[in-house]
C-alpha cells in the first residue's frame, strides 16, 4: 500500500496584516507535514515570523514550538517541518503594524 499523501493549499493570494492565520486543516491521518509559504508580492515592511499551531478541536489553538521566517520578496519560499501533531494544523503570525504580505500557503502531508 502506498503511503497516503496530499498537497493542500489553505491560503491563496491572501493579504496578511496584523494577527493572521490559515484556516484549520484536519489531517489526523498524516504523521508528517511540511508547510510552505510563498510570497506572491514583495512584502510591505518586515513581516516577521510565523508559528505552527496545534488544536484539540479546531477551535482552540496552542503554539507547537516551531517558528520560521515569513518570506519577504515575491517568489521567495520559506517552510517548516512538523510531525507528531495530532489532528489539527494551522500557521499563524502577528505581523508588525504597517507590515503586509500576500501569501500562498501549502501543506504537504504524508501518512
Amino acid at each position: 500500500m502506498l503511503r497516503e499523501s496530499q498537497a493542500a493549499v489553505v491560503a491563496r493570494n491572501e493579504e496578511w496584516r496584523g494577527a493572521s492565520a490559515t484556516e484549520p486543516y484536519e489531517a489526523g491521518w498524516a504523521s508528517e507535514a511540511i508547510v510552505f509559504v510563498r510570497a506572491l508580492k514583495d512584502a510591505v515592511g518586515a513581516p516577521g515570523r510565523a508559528r505552527v499551531e496545534l488544536s484539540p478541536d479546531g477551535m482552540h489553538w496552542v503554539a507547537e514550538g516551531t517558528e520560521f521566517p515569513l518570506p519577504v520578496r515575491a517568489g521567495e519560499v520559506t517552510f517548516a517541518r512538523v510531525s507528531h501533531f495530532g489532528t489539527w494544523l494551522r500557521i499563524a503570525a502577528d505581523l508588525p503594524e504597517g507590515a503586509a504580505l500576500t501569501v500562498l500557503v501549502t501543506w504537504h502531508l504524508k501518512a
Binding site: 493549499v9 491563496r12 484549520p24 486543516y25 484536519e26 491521518w29 478541536d57 477551535m59 489532528t87
Partner: protein, 295 residues
C-alpha cells in the same frame, strides 16, 4: 437456467457491504470511499490568467477539502459510516461563505448516469446551542458538455441544494438553479472566462421539496443521509432525485444551459458545496460516493 449477467452483478453488489447501500446502474464509474484517500476530490479553484488577482472572489474563498474523522470537542471522533474517514468540505467563518470540492472526469457514452452519496452537515460547534440554522445549504452539481461531434453543442450544469436555513429561518427545502450568470473575460489572451454559477441569486424551489432531515440534538452529533440524482446524458435532462425516504418531483426542474465552450468536450465534473448562514464555519461531510452509468 443461466442467470442474467445483470442479476449476477446485482447479487454480488448486494453481498458487498460497501456497495449494498447503493443502487448503482450496471457500470460503476467511481466508488469513492474516503478510507482510501481523497479519491480525486479536490478544491474548485477559480480561473485566472497573469495574476491570481483576476480570480472571482466567490472562487478565491475556496480551500482544500480534508479527510476527517469528524472530531468533536465534547466526545472525540464521530467517524464515517464505516471506517474512520469521510470527505470534509468546510467554509470560512463568514455568513454567506461557501466552499466546493470537485471531481473531474469525462464520459464515454451519453446515456443515463446515477449519482448516489451519503452526507451530513454541521456548523462548527463553538457555541453550546443546537445551532440548527447555522448551515445555510449543502448541495451538488454536474458540469457537463456534449461531445465535439455531437449535433447539439451545449454546456449543461444541473445545480441542486438543500436549503437548510436562510437568514436564521429554518427553511429545509430542496432547490435548483437554472439561471445563468454573466461570463467575464479573465486576463488578456482571450482564452479564459469565468462565470460565478454558484452566486446566491436565482435559486428556485423544487415543487413539494420541503423535507425535514434528521439533525440530532446537539451540534456535535451527526446522522448520515442518503441522496440519489439521476441524469440522462443523451437528453441532458434530470430524471430523478431522492433523499432518504423521499422521491422528489423534478417536473419543474431545469439545468443551466450555456453554448458549448471550445475546450470542455465530454466533460463530466461533479461537485459538492456547502454554505454558511452565520459567521461560523459550516462543514459538509460525504461518506461515500457512487457514480454509475448504464453502458
Amino acid at each position: 437456467m443461466t442467470p442474467d449477467r445483470h442479476e449476477i452483478a446485482s447479487a454480488l453488489r448486494l453481498a458487498d457491504p460497501a456497495l449494498s447501500r447503493f443502487d448503482p446502474l450496471p457500470r460503476i464509474i467511481a466508488f469513492d470511499d474516503f478510507d482510501r484517500g481523497f479519491c480525486g476530490w479536490t478544491q474548485l479553484v477559480g480561473n485566472y490568467e497573469d495574476t491570481l488577482d483576476a480570480m472571482h472572489p466567490g472562487y478565491a474563498q475556496h480551500t482544500q477539502a480534508m479527510l476527517s474523522t469528524l472530531p468533536m470537542w465534547d466526545f472525540g471522533s464521530h467517524g464515517g459510516i464505516d471506517g474512520s474517514y469521510a470527505l470534509k468540505i468546510a467554509t470560512r467563518p463568514q455568513a454567506g461563505a461557501r466552499n466546493v470540492a470537485i471531481k473531474r472526469l469525462t464520459f464515454r457514452r451519453r446515456g443515463p448516469i446515477r449519482l448516489e452519496f451519503y452526507f451530513t452537515f454541521k456548523p462548527e460547534a463553538n457555541e453550546l446551542s443546537l445551532s440548527e440554522t447555522d448551515v445555510r445549504s449543502v448541495g451538488f452539481l454536474y458540469d457537463l458538455q456534449t461531445g465535439d461531434r455531437d449535433g447539439d453543442a451545449w454546456r449543461i450544469m444541473p445545480h441542486l441544494r438543500f436549503l437548510n436555513a436562510l437568514n436564521g429561518e429554518h427553511v429545509q427545502k430542496w432547490q435548483f438553479k437554472r439561471r445563468t450568470e454573466p461570463f467575464a473575460p479573465v486576463g488578456s489572451a482571450n482564452k479564459t472566462v469565468t462565470h460565478y454559477h454558484l452566486a446566491p441569486e436565482g435559486w428556485e424551489d423544487i415543487a413539494g421539496g420541503g423535507q425535514k432531515l434528521c439533525y440530532n440534538e446537539i451540534p456535535t452529533k451527526v446522522n448520515w443521509h442518503y441522496c440519489r440524482f439521476d441524469f440522462d446524458l443523451a437528453t441532458m435532462q434530470a430524471t430523478g432525485l431522492a433523499c432518504n425516504d423521499r422521491e422528489l418531483d423534478l417536473g419543474g426542474f431545469d439545468s443551466m444551459r450555456i453554448p458549448a465552450m471550445r475546450n470542455l468536450w465530454c466533460m463530466l465534473n461533479l461537485a459538492f458545496f456547502v454554505e454558511t448562514d452565520v459567521d461560523k464555519r459550516a462543514s459538509l461531510f460525504i461518506d461515500s460516493v457512487c457514480l454509475s452509468g448504464d453502458f
